[in-house]
């Protein structure tokens, strides 16, 4: 078979809902696209552990501190699962880590922002994990089967994180004026980044990952599902949205596209977000300081006589 014939057969298979395994033949564009996508997801999980890690000292009780620490461990675990999937596509973990800490590869926009207090944990755990769950649940149908399988486990854990985030939110919502302010304040800072999280409108013609069914739904479709699901819940708790505030349109909650300021996202794409440099520097330092751990772990056990 010529390359063109292989390509046509591959496209046909994927179009019909067929799945791709690591050992299958795949076009270079597909391999590169999936690798970049999964690598970015892995980077986001490991960088996503940092903002919440910074909130650990403000946990209001030992139980809350332990449950947040467990969630952070889960996120780091997701990164390990995803780096493993990406590695099988031909890039070493070391190279991926190197590209992350030197700013060559990217991670998700929401992890470039600062955290201020315990209200941030509620918004991150409930709304950002909620947004992530909407996108990741859709990816369980991805054409790249090893990724789809890992996402099953990840989504199950994200579901738990959502419960955890909602639990904290409800506690703040039923609490003192100060507690309620904490959620409201965090919501005001995080709302625009959450809207950005789904990305701008997808270009269905140009988006190779959509065409290969690595991604299964458009950005705007996923954002819509998120808004419809969460906006009423937030309003019900008596909180208010900053710009771009959702408005009711028939059966849907929508944000007006002209009200979305995309400038902050553009800066983050160039790795120039408010916390980008500091968090990458932290990762780099951890990577260097823990070198001896990696080296020690790579040695087989030697039993003393």
């Amino acid at each position: 078979m010529t390359y063109e014939e292989k390509l046509a057969a591959f496209a046909e298979r994927v179009e019909a809902g067929g799945k791709v395994e690591t050992e299958d033949w795949m076009p270079d564009d597909y391999r590169r696209g999936v690798l970049k996508f999964v690598e970015m997801h892995a980077n986001s999980e490991i960088m996503g552990a940092l903002p919440e890690r910074e909130c650990l000292p403000s946990a209001p009780s030992l139980r809350r501190k332990m449950s947040l620490a467990a969630k952070i461990q889960d996120e780091v675990g997701h990164a390990q699962l995803l780096y493993r999937v990406a590695e099988d596509l031909g890039k070493s973990r070391h190279a991926m880590y190197e590209d992350l800490v030197t700013g060559k590869s990217k991670f998700h926009n929401v992890f470039h922002y600062p955290v201020r207090h315990w209200g941030d944990v509620a918004v991150i755990g409930w709304l950002i994990d909620g947004a992530a769950l909407v996108t990741q649940a859709a990816l369980r149908d991805s054409s790249y089967a090893p990724y789809a399988r890992v996402l099953k486990r990840i989504c199950a854990e994200e579901q738990l994180h959502l419960r955890h985030g909602e639990d904290i939110t409800l506690e703040l919502a039923s609490g003192t004026d100060r507690q309620r302010w904490m959620f409201q304040d965090a919501l005001e800072r995080w709302w625009l980044p959450i809207i950005h999280f789904f990305g701008p409108r997808s270009n269905v013609e140009k988006d190779l990952l959509l065409r290969w069914k690595v991604k299964t739904r458009t950005n705007e479709d996923l954002r819509q599902e998120f808004l419809d699901r969460y906006v009423p819940k937030v309003l019900e708790l008596g909180f208010t949205f900053p710009t771009p505030a959702p408005v009711r349109q028939g059966d849907h909650w929508v944000v007006r596209e002209e009200e979305i300021d995309w400038q902050p996202l553009e800066a983050i794409k160039r790795n120039q977000g408010p916390e980008t440099e500091r968090r990458l520097a932290w990762r780099r330092r951890m990577y260097d300081e823990h070198r001896w751990v990696r080296e020690a772990m790579a040695e087989p056990v030697v039993h003393a006589a």
């Binding site: 395994e21 332990m66 449950s67 467990a70 909602e166 639990d167 039923s174 708790l237």
Partner: protein, 101 residues
Amino acid sequence: MEVYEVFRRHGHKDPFEHCGAVIAPDPDMALIMAKECFLRRGEGEHLWVARRSDIHSFKDESLLEPTGDKSYRFASGYRDVIHKREKALARVRELSGGGAA
């Protein structure tokens, strides 16, 4: 002859799962036998075999037990959502002056 453990998978969405073992002189024969034994009626679409001697497990299974109360790792650690939501809604009513404050 050696024992080969057999793993099989349905489609592409599920993980491989252990389904039994066969005795064979080499991996190729183990695969043929595994197919005859464990894929007779479309129970799966993919098959792996691995030498039992290549599979490792904890000698002391007590090492697998959690080291303390980890209930916060389970959904059951965040119960009573309905009750908690009602409490929050009561607080909202109280704030808007419309409830039984």
